[in-house]
């Protein structure tokens, strides 16, 4: 007796656009100890929440990538994968802060797959980039690489946030400002709990907004702008956090 469920050709559902969340994690010596442990814990927990967000949308599939940087750079997975398949490797914090190399490596990957990068060939959504650092980069020419990054649409249209972990000097804040383009998207976190919450708020809120088709209202706002407004409201509720500069 045949299985009566129709095989009219289900497939795996609607072909979705890809939304990448890319973490840039400072793995230098100054991060070792509670700071880097907090990052490890926060991202591990986040990976479990992301599949729930995907259940609520047909427009986008969320993929995660993480680049750690100290003396050298290292992609934790070879390419962006779904949260379910992402195996996080704990970081320990050692070495210098080579932000130049991080930006250069990021630039190499913010290109379509067919051209050697990590970005989808079609159906891509502007990614979410989250930079986490506790201090000044030791490489001095990071600004040049950042300038090259800004010329890539994948970077300039991305929703970029920076987390300043612990006390950051004014100079270090300048570096983060250059990355985000706006002081409102720099969040200072002072505790491990706050770090975890902030990462979640940014990733979850931004994914929810950006994984859906643009909504039109009489007030025209881009998805990035909507995400920013919602993130700001949520971050205000978290203790141990200061936003803006």
């Amino acid at each position: 007796m045949a299985d009566k469920s129709s095989n009219f050709g289900y497939g795996n559902g609607i072909a979705k656009q890809i939304l990448n969340i890319i973490f840039l994690v400072d793995d230098s010596g100054s991060m070792s100890g509670p700071n880097i442990n907090a990052v490890n814990a926060a991202i591990t927990e986040l990976l479990q929440i992301i599949p729930e967000i995907e259940k609520g949308t047909i427009d986008a599939e969320i993929r995660v990538a993480a680049l750690s940087f100290s003396d050298k750079v290292h992609w934790i997975q070879k390419e962006p994968v779904s949260a379910r398949h992402f195996k996080w490797e704990d970081l320990f914090g050692d070495g210098s802060t080579n932000l130049t190399e991080a930006y250069r490596e990021l630039g190499k990957q913010l290109i379509k797959k067919s051209h050697g990068g990590m970005m989808p060939d079609f159906g891509g959504v502007a990614p979410i980039l989250l930079l986490m650092s506790d201090g000044m980069p030791t490489s001095l020419d990071w600004a040049i690489e950042l300038g090259i990054l800004y010329q890539k649409i994948w970077f300039s249209s991305a929703l970029r946030y920076a987390l300043a972990i612990g006390a950051c000097s004014d100079e270090a804040m300048q570096v983060l400002l250059a990355f985000t383009g706006s002081a409102d998207r720099i969040i200072k976190v002072f505790t491990a709990e706050a770090l975890k919450n902030v990462i979640q708020v940014i990733a979850v809120t931004a994914s929810k907004v950006k994984s859906k088709s643009a909504s039109i209202s009489s007030v025209r706002q881009t998805n990035n702008e909507i995400a920013e407004t919602e993130i700001k409201a949520e971050i205000e509720k978290i203790e141990g956090v200061e936003s803006g500069w």
Partner: protein, 417 residues
């Protein structure tokens, strides 16, 4: 954590208990709530809506729901902390969000059931439109299905308003008619027709009618990309003459496969909406037109007993998929409808979805013998040559026989071929 609020209801202070969160959308958050000894869903808006919006919502609560399919707003509430929202019935637990079906996580029990769901949705929209109302923010988020019966539920009814009324939310770009995205017109009956067509296309083919090869022209599909793809220069993926936007093999495989299997009259219907009806809103199919299209599709559908494949050409002796021999199906001919008799099929005449004549069931001992249970209030009379006429009242099952003539109540005659 249960919050307690006091609401004035028929002059009395009633307690509203706000329980856990059960949903979260762009406009608001939905909570489980207890009020007046019943359980409800309470939607609270994230941003305080305008007076126009609330006023419209109050009008909606004062209007009787056009169909049980809608999860209709019952009561607007103003909470002590200034939050505004409304109470609505809970969606019964046996309903699956259409998002899960479009994501391929859940499936309708068979294609026949999926078509029944589409018919129920179109019928509900028809009743809404007959009241002079339009849905406005039609998108997959508000739709639910019983995957076994094809029953439908539609929520997110707080944007429902009379045609051409100006409210803040205009919709989601993927579903909006071009003239609304371009802000040439306010949402109205014709833009609802367009959005409905988009939803039906997505459910039938698991793809979007305007997203094909052209998406490869964009690095990123952001608001600007969507603006061009959906409003400025929309090109139907199966435009007869303009082939630049065909679905991408390897990426849109499901669309390619499903479109191929759709009957010609269904393909023509989509073509009319998404080509002729792009800018000429009068050319779009109305709810009644869609009902005819889908009921004909539904009536023509049959299933291979060997492999379960469902297809629509009743005279083909072999299954197109597995090649098994298909015994000739009995067809009920009534008025202008010809219904291929398949187990579980509802018999709908004159697009009267509320009052189906009956539904087809299989004999428990020999499933190849089919009959129809009388769900109407009329007495049916069957007539086969050389056999005495028999009566079947409500609830009874009439067994089919070839060449049988049936009188369904006063005016309707059918025959089995």
């Amino acid at each position: 954590m249960v919050n307690e609020e006091s609401i004035q209801y028929f002059g009395k202070n009633q307690k509203l208990y706000i329980d856990r969160e059960i949903g979260n959308g762009a406009q608001g958050t939905v909570f489980l709530a207890h009020f007046n000894q019943h359980q409800f869903a309470l939607k609270l808006y994230k941003k305080t809506p305008s007076l126009t919006f609330v006023s419209n919502l109050i009008n909606t609560t004062a209007t009787v729901s056009p169909s049980d399919v809608f999860i209709w707003p019952k009561q607007v509430v103003n909470l002590s902390d200034g939050n505004v929202g409304y109470l609505m019935p809970l969606i019964p637990a046996n309903y699956t969000p259409i998002i899960a079906i479009l994501n391929g996580k859940r499936h309708f029990s068979n294609f026949q059931t999926m078509l029944m769901w589409c018919i129920n949705v179109i019928h509900a929209m028809k009743k809404l439109h007959q009241k002079g109302l339009c849905f406005r923010d039609l998108n997959e988020g508000g739709f639910f299905a019983d995957i076994f019966t094809g029953d439908a539920r539609i929520c997110d009814c707080d944007n429902i308003a009379p045609h051409n009324v100006k409210l803040e939310i205009l919709g989601k770009m993927k579903y909006m008619a071009p003239e609304v995205i371009l802000k040439k017109k306010m949402p109205n009956l014709y833009s609802d027709y367009y959005s409905l067509a988009i939803l039906l296309f997505q459910v039938l083919t698991n793809g979007h009618p305007m997203m094909g090869a052209r998406i490869a022209n964009y690095e990123i599909i952001d608001e600007r990309g969507e603006y061009v793809l959906f409003a400025v220069e929309p090109v139907f993926v199966y435009h007869k003459t303009n082939t630049i936007n065909r679905p991408i093999p390897g990426y849109h495989d499901v669309v390619i496969e499903r479109w191929r299997l759709l009957p010609k009259h269904v393909q023509e219907a989509f073509h009319q909406v998404f080509v002729d009806g792009i800018y000429d809103d009068k050319k779009r199919l109305s709810d009644q037109d869609w009902l005819s299209v889908f009921i004909q599709f539904y009536n023509d559908l049959l299933q291979c007993d060997e492999c379960g494949f469902e297809f629509t050409r009743a005279n083909i002796p072999h299954c197109p998929k597995c090649g098994a021999c298909i015994p000739k199906r009995l067809i009920l001919s009534i008025k202008s409808s010809r219904v291929v008799l398949e187990k579980g099929k509802m018999v709908i005449v004159d697009c009267d979805v509320d009052r189906p004549l009956g539904f087809v069931i299989a004999n428990k001992i020999d499933p190849s013998i089919l009959g129809m249970r009388n769900t109407s209030n009329e007495i049916w009379k069957s007539q086969v040559e050389n056999v005495k006429a028999k009566d079947y009242s409500h609830g009874q099952v009439l067994p089919f026989q070839k060449y049988m003539k049936i009188q369904f109540g006063n005016q309707e005659y059918g025959k089995i071929e």
